[in-house]
Amino acid sequence: MSEMITIFINDKEYQVEKGLTIMQAADKHGYHIPRLCYHPKLSIEGACRVCIVEVEGMKTYAASCAYPISEGMKIKTNTQALRSVRRDIVELILDNHPLDCHTCERDGNCELQRLAADMGIRTRHFEGEKKHYEKDISSESVIRDPSKCILCGRCVRMCTEVQKVSNLSQAHRGFKTVVMPAYNMDMKDSVCTACGQCINVCPTASFLERNYTDVVFKQLNNPDVIKVAQFAPSVRAAIGEAFDLEPGHNMEGQLVAALRKLGFDYVFDTQFSADVTIMEESSEFLDRVQNGGKLPMITSCSSAWMKCLEQFYPDLIDNVSTCKSPMSMQGALTKSYWAEKKGIDPKKVYSVAVMCCTAKKFEADRPELLVDGLKGVDNVITTREIAWMIKSAGIDFINIEPEKPDNPIGMSSGAGVIFGTTGGVMEAAIRTAYELYTGQTLVDIELDSIRGLKGIKEATLDLDGTEIRVAVAHGLGNAHDLLDIVRKDPTRYHFIEIMGCPGGCVGGGGQPYAQANSIPLDEDTLMKRAECLYDIDRKKTIRRSHDNPDVQKLYKEFLQRPLSKISHKYLHTHYKAKLPKGIIPDNLNF
């Protein structure tokens, strides 16, 4: 039990834990001090000054996010003077911000807009010089718009502290300060991994995904193409939030129905290809174990991680599985196996992937993934984009009659479902690898040790007397820490799962913005999304990828067997080192 001290908030006495900041103490006792640059997962910046409070005996206001409490401290959070100063601070931020809320993509879910409303800003008192910068639209995934930036620094801290990618910093000074990559280079040419976490934490629209909703709507009205959609596991667990549902509702059936109502001719579930990924990946793993291949083998599903690999870990490229991601496998199978079965010219198939991810937009464009010159996925849209499309088309998403995905490449096992959360790919792979290796069915298939939000998780398995050590990391920062261990001790693990985003795909860069009463990447929200997927898995009769009858049929009719020549043509690829080279600092105290 930590030491308790007495403080006074707005004349009321409270016992609070020593060592907390004023903001943390106030939060515990029901006072939500207005804030902007603060985020509990990031270091304290103290940049915005919105969270100021009065402390008796202090000459100036204190930034409550940074100021520690002390015995007998008397704090006021809402005096008339404070309200006035806070409103001025927010007004000054607004003064150097475009007045284009009604045409802004974040209209309705912008933190600055909410804050202005909370401050009661009804008239504008300041009018001065405004900054104007060009948008950086070079990246397939992440658009940077410095004109909308309020310099809270959350994106820089997310990119540096949580992801340890350090692509962004604040360059220049004073009025001319701009958040940018090194040398003000285009995002496309930088070390950006396209993870999109800057978008998630940005309170305004300074970072956005490259929006393809216009293109998709246009194609949906094109009578000359066959419109095919697929959607990722974690989209179903999060999209409800964009329609004001509590996190963790499974909206799979509603999403399938809505995609059909939007005009898609066929709707497939990416989870089918997650099952196929498991067939290929576990076979590849066992092949490496039995034939002295490169170990540890590292998963390759996460697009942000794959871009990170090429720039930060060229030395580990051979450790990474050659499997394409489930999205790209689904795309390739759609335009080969399925099109052939249906008697459709694959060139006439317009394939859209609905993903929790911004990096998947970049992945879909990778030349390494072309098969016979064809892209498997023509456009990728995020959970946020599809939610907007559904609203824009006037579809009653919440009350719609749920529907099932199309077959034969739409049905999945429980193993395919849990791909959407950290630890899920590993758990799914083990369910199949165990049986392929031992010939026996794994009974206890829920691996609690690799579930949850711990940064690096480990487990040891017994495959018929062979000890297999596995590790799981989510978020590129944790991945960096884990790979640091691997570089120093290459024999420590046999199999590693890496997902680029905090919590895995459930915390993807394309997921719905934080709800008004929440914060970006709130752990409780991530856990509820993950639990939604685990719950779907538990309720499935078929919970192992190799038991999926459609997967068995696919191998019988088309692929022959895992790692076959045909599998390699459609489902595998190779990556190579790229510049600029990423640098991971030993510590962040520079």
């Binding site: 692509n167 962004l168 360059a171 220049h172 090194a182 040398y183 640098i583 991971i584 520079f590």
Partner: protein
């Protein structure tokens, strides 16, 4: 035969190596950037990449530091740096007119370098020579009691020497 650039890079790498044994070695970034500018005249991107890799500091962070301090030049500078004093004394004695004349004569704005690479024009804030205001400084030499014509004459002397 090792060229000047390679020699300078070796010197910078050696200096970074020296800083590594020191306490808070990562805080030597500014010192290292000074060294780079001292040797190259400006912060070349290729050299900043080397600094990033050798000091293990992300390039974006180095860029943040390099752009924060006005002292650091991010573009190559001319053979001679012309600093026009815009301190109070020089200003009231016509420093702004001297600056305008030099901008016209050299065909560049403040912060820019002439096409022939001979001059970089800069503003300065009080060079401590108020008694002979308005003054300009070329490299480390002061020229005082100037007007527009005299300032252009000084420039022409440098041009003559360069020919």
């Amino acid at each position: 035969m090792i060229d000047v650039k390679d020699k300078n890079i070796i010197e910078i790498k050696k200096y970074i190596e020296e800083t590594k044994g020191m306490e808070h070695s990562e805080s030597y970034l500014i010192a290292v950037l000074h060294k780079v500018q001292g040797l190259f005249g400006y912060l070349d991107r290729e050299i900043m990449d080397i600094v990033a890799e050798d000091m293990n500091i992300p390039t974006a962070h180095i860029w943040g530091v390099a752009t924060f301090y006005h002292y650091f030049n991010l573009e190559p500078i001319g053979k001679h740096v012309v600093s026009v004093c815009m301190g109070t004394a020089c200003y009231v004695k016509g420093g702004d007119k001297v600056l305008n004349a030099l901008e016209t004569e050299l065909g560049v704005d403040v912060g820019e370098t002439t096409e022939d690479g001979l001059f970089t024009l800069q503003e300065a804030r009080c060079l401590g020579a108020c008694g002979i205001a308005p003054v300009i400084m070329i490299d480390d030499k002061i020229y005082g009691d100037l007007d527009s014509k005299k300032a252009v004459d000084v420039i022409n002397q440098y041009r003559k020497v360069a020919k």
